[in-house]
C-alpha cells in the first residue's frame, strides 16, 4: 500500500508543470492585442485532416482578400493580420481553435469553419465571447438558427441547404420535365444530406418520384456498385449533391456504364477541376446550382487574381472563403469599430453587398445571406449560364 497515491502525485506534478506554463502564458499575452496597429482577424479552418482541401482553398482565398484589402489601406486605418488556427477537420479541435483565436489571440472576428459540424463546434465559443463568426460554407440550417432562435454573432456566406435543394428540384421538375429521380449522397457530409433531403421533399411535392437513393463516402474512388443500382432503378435524372472531387469520377463512371441521364448537383460542383476529372463529353447533360456564372466579370477578376497568385484555379470553397472574408471586412468598416456587438449589427444590416457570388443582403432574422442562385449547364466542357432563380 506504500505507493497508494503515486499516480495522483505524478498527475499533480505534471499538471502543475502545465499550470506553470498556463500562468506565464497568460501574462505574456497581455500585450498581444495592441501589437503594431494591426487589426487581427482569426480563421478557424480545416487545414489538415480529412477535408484539408476545403480549408486550404479558403485560406488561400482569404489571404488574397486580405492582401487586396491591405493594399487599399486596410481596415479602420489599420493593416489586417490574419491568425489561422487549424481544426484538423475535427469538431473538438475546432472548439479548441476558436478558443485559441478568440481568448488567446484576441481577434475581432472569426472566419470559419468550413463544415457545418466544425462551425457548430466553434459557434458557442464565439457567442460566449461576443465575437462575430462567419462560416464560408457551413450550409446546415442549425448553424445559424436553432430551435427557431437565431444565434447571435453567427453568420454564413453560403446558401442554406433547403434553398439549393429546392432550386435543383424545381429545375428538374419544371425545366427538365422529368418525373423519376435518383439521389446519390455523400454519407459523411451534412451538406450533401441536407441538400438531398430538400431536393427529395421539393421534387415529391412537384409530383416527382424518388426511385432510388444510394450513398457513398467522401474519399471513395469506385462508385460503380452503387451506380449499377441507380442504373437498374431507371431514373430520368440523378441528383448528386457532392463535391467535385467525387462528382467528377461519379459522372465519368456512370457514363462509362452507359448511363446517359442528366446529372444535377449543387455549388459543390463548382471547380474547373471537374473538367479534368471527367471528359467534356461525359459532362454534357449535367447541370448544377451555383452562385454566379463562372464567366461573370466579378468572378473573372477573382479567378484571374487567384490564378496569378497560386497558379491554380479557385473552387467554390475558395470563392466562398473570399466572400466570407470580404463580408466581414465590410461589416467592420460599416461598424467603424472592432466591437463585437457593433460588427454583429453591421453584418445584420448589410444590404446589396457586391459579392463575388452576386449581390448579397444579410437576413437579420436568420443570418443567412439572401442572394440569387443560377443554374449552370455544362456544355462541351464549358459552364453555360441557363437561368437565374431568386429566393422567395
Amino acid at each position: 500500500m506504500k505507493k497508494f497515491f503515486v499516480m495522483a502525485t505524478a498527475a499533480v506534478l505534471s499538471l502543475s508543470l502545465l499550470a506553470g506554463c498556463g500562468t506565464t502564458g497568460a501574462t505574456s499575452n497581455g500585450g498581444g492585442s495592441s501589437a503594431g496597429g494591426n487589426l487581427k482577424i482569426g480563421a478557424d479552418l480545416e487545414l489538415t485532416g480529412g477535408v484539408a482541401m476545403f480549408g486550404t482553398a479558403a485560406q488561400k482565398a482569404i489571404d488574397l482578400a486580405v492582401e487586396q484589402q491591405n493594399a487599399n489601406g486596410g481596415l479602420l486605418g489599420k493593416q489586417i493580420k490574419m491568425d489561422y488556427a487549424d481544426n484538423k477537420s475535427d469538431p473538438g479541435e475546432s472548439t479548441n481553435a476558436a478558443t485559441k483565436l478568440i481568448t488567446q489571440d484576441s481577434v475581432v472576428a472569426v472566419i470559419g469553419a468550413m463544415t457545418s459540424g466544425n462551425t457548430l463546434a466553434a459557434s458557442q465559443v464565439a457567442i460566449d465571447n461576443k465575437v462575430p463568426l462567419i462560416s464560408p460554407t457551413g450550409t446546415a440550417d442549425k448553424v445559424t438558427v436553432e430551435n427557431g432562435q437565431v444565434k447571435p454573432y453567427i453568420f454564413r456566406a453560403c446558401f442554406i441547404d433547403p434553398f439549393q435543394g429546392q432550386v435543383a428540384a424545381q429545375f428538374a421538375a419544371n425545366t427538365l420535365k422529368v418525373q423519376k429521380a435518383a439521389i446519390f449522397i455523400d454519407q459523411k457530409s451534412d451538406y450533401s444530406i441536407g441538400l438531398a433531403n430538400a431536393f427529395s421533399t421539393n421534387f415529391k411535392s412537384a409530383n416527382g418520384q424518388i426511385v432510388s437513393q444510394e450513398k457513398y463516402v467522401a474519399g471513395d474512388k469506385d462508385f460503380r456498385p452503387q451506380l449499377a443500382r441507380i442504373k437498374s432503378s431507371n431514373p430520368d435524372v440523378v441528383f448528386v449533391p457532392g463535391y467535385y472531387g467525387e462528382v467528377g469520377p461519379i459522372v465519368k463512371q456512370a457514363r462509362e456504364m452507359g448511363m446517359n441521364q442528366a446529372f444535377i448537383g449543387g455549388d459543390g460542383w463548382g471547380s474547373p477541376e471537374l473538367f479534368n476529372l471527367a471528359s467534356a463529353d461525359q459532362l454534357n447533360n449535367c447541370y448544377y446550382v451555383n452562385h454566379v456564372a463562372i464567366d461573370d466579370p466579378s468572378m473573372a477578376d477573382f479567378v484571374k487574381a487567384f490564378k496569378a497568385k497560386y497558379n491554380q484555379d479557385p473552387d467554390s470553397f475558395a470563392a466562398l472563403g473570399y466572400d466570407a472574408a470580404r463580408l466581414m471586412f465590410q461589416a467592420i468598416k460599416d461598424a467603424n469599430s472592432t466591437n463585437g456587438d457593433k460588427i454583429r449589427t453591421a453584418l445584420e444590416n448589410l444590404k446589396g453587398f457586391k459579392g463575388l457570388n452576386g449581390d448579397i443582403t444579410m437576413d437579420p432574422k436568420t443570418h443567412n445571406p439572401i442572394k440569387d442562385a443560377v443554374i449552370i449547364k455544362i456544355e462541351n466542357g464549358k459552364n453555360v449560364f441557363m437561368t437565374k432563380v431568386s429566393p422567395k
Partner: protein, 295 residues
C-alpha cells in the same frame, strides 16, 4: 439486384477493385513476410509513387512505361532510405516500437507531402485508351484489364523472385532466422534493404496505376487503400504472396457485393468484420499454415 447479369457485373467491378487492393497488398505482405513489420507507411509510399508518376507524366512528359519506371525507382530509393534511417535501428527493439515508428513515417509522408505539393487533389491525365467492352451486357474498360493483368504478372514475378532467385532465398533465410542467415554468409542488411526497395517499387507501381485508373491523387490518398490492402494481406495470410492476390480479390468482390445489395455505408464495416472473423477462426489467413507456438 435484379438479374444474373447485374450480379455478374458487380463481380466484375469487384474484381477490378480487388486487383487494385491486390497490387498494393503484394508489397505489404512481402515486407511483412520477410521483416515481420507492419509497415503502416506502405500506403503512403504508394502515394509518393503516384506523385512521382504524375510529375513524370505531366512535367517531364514521359510516356507511360518510363513514367512508371521512374516512379518505381524513386520509391525504391525512398524505401531504402526509410528502412535504413527509421526501421533498421529498431530491428531488435520491441514490435510496438517498430510499429509506432511506422506510424510516424506514415504521418511524416502524408503531412510532409502536403507541405510540398499542397492539400488539393491533382488530376492524372488519361494514359490508357478509354475503350469500353461489352460482353453480354457486362461492361468493363481497358483499364480494368490492365489492372488485373499487372497484378497477376507482378504477383508471379514476385513469387518467383522470392522462391527461386538468390536474393529471394536470402530473403527467406533472413525471415526464418536472421542470425543463422548471417552465419551462413547472407548479408542480412542488404537483403532487408532489397526487400524494402522491391516492396516500395511495387507500391509505386500500384500508386501510378491507381492514379491513372481513378484520375485523381492527393496527399492523403494512401490511407484508405493502405488499410484495405493490409486487410487483404491478412485475409490471404500475411507474408504469403499468392495469398495477397486472393485476399485482394476477395475483399474487392465482397465490397462490391455489399454495395450492390444496397448497404454501401456498411461496406467498410463488413470488410473489417470479415478480417476479424478470419483472424479468430484461422489467424494465419486463408492460405497460411497454422504453426504451433514453441515454448
Amino acid at each position: 439486384m435484379h438479374s444474373i447479369t447485374e450480379l455478374l457485373q458487380q463481380l466484375v467491378y469487384g474484381l477490378s477493385l480487388g486487383s487494385i487492393y491486390a497490387l498494393i497488398a503484394l508489397g505489404y505482405t512481402m515486407v511483412y513476410g520477410i521483416v515481420k513489420l507492419i509497415n503502416f507507411a506502405h500506403g503512403d509510399v504508394m502515394m509518393v509513387g503516384a506523385y512521382m508518376g504524375w510529375i513524370a507524366i505531366t512535367v517531364f512528359h514521359f510516356p507511360f512505361f518510363p513514367a512508371i519506371l521512374f516512379a518505381m525507382i524513386v520509391a525504391a530509393i525512398a524505401g531504402i532510405i526509410i528502412e535504413r534511417t527509421a526501421y533498421k535501428p529498431l530491428r531488435n527493439a520491441t514490435r510496438i516500437a517498430a510499429l509506432i515508428t511506422a506510424i510516424g513515417v506514415s504521418l511524416f509522408l502524408e503531412y510532409g507531402g502536403m507541405l510540398v505539393v499542397g492539400a488539393q487533389m491533382r488530376t492524372y491525365p488519361n494514359v490508357f485508351p478509354e475503350t469500353m467492352y461489352n460482353i453480354g451486357g457486362i461492361i468493363f474498360k481497358f483499364g480494368d484489364i490492365v489492372m488485373l493483368v499487372t497484378a497477376l504478372v507482378l504477383m508471379l514475378l514476385l513469387h518467383f523472385t522470392v522462391q527461386y532467385t538468390k536474393i529471394g532465398k536470402a530473403m527467406r533465410a533472413s525471415s526464418f532466422d536472421m542470425e543463422a542467415a548471417l552465419l551462413m554468409g547472407v548479408n542480412v542488411n542488404t537483403t532487408i534493404s532489397a526487400t524494402f526497395a522491391i516492396g516500395s517499387a511495387l507500391a509505386a507501381a500500384a500508386g501510378v496505376l491507381y492514379g491513372i485508373y481513378f484520375n485523381s491523387i492527393d496527399p492523403l490518398m494512401g490511407i484508405t487503400p493502405g488499410l484495405k490492402a493490409f486487410v487483404a494481406a491478412v485475409l490471404g495470410g500475411i507474408g504469403i504472396i499468392p495469398g495477397a492476390m486472393v485476399g485482394g480479390l476477395v475483399l474487392g468482390i465482397t465490397e462490391s457485393l455489399v454495395s450492390g445489395f444496397g448497404a454501401s455505408t456498411w461496406r467498410d464495416a463488413v470488410a473489417f468484420l470479415i478480417l476479424i472473423l478470419v483472424l479468430i477462426i484461422k489467424p494465419s489467413g486463408l492460405f497460411g499454415k497454422n504453426l504451433r507456438e514453441k515454448v
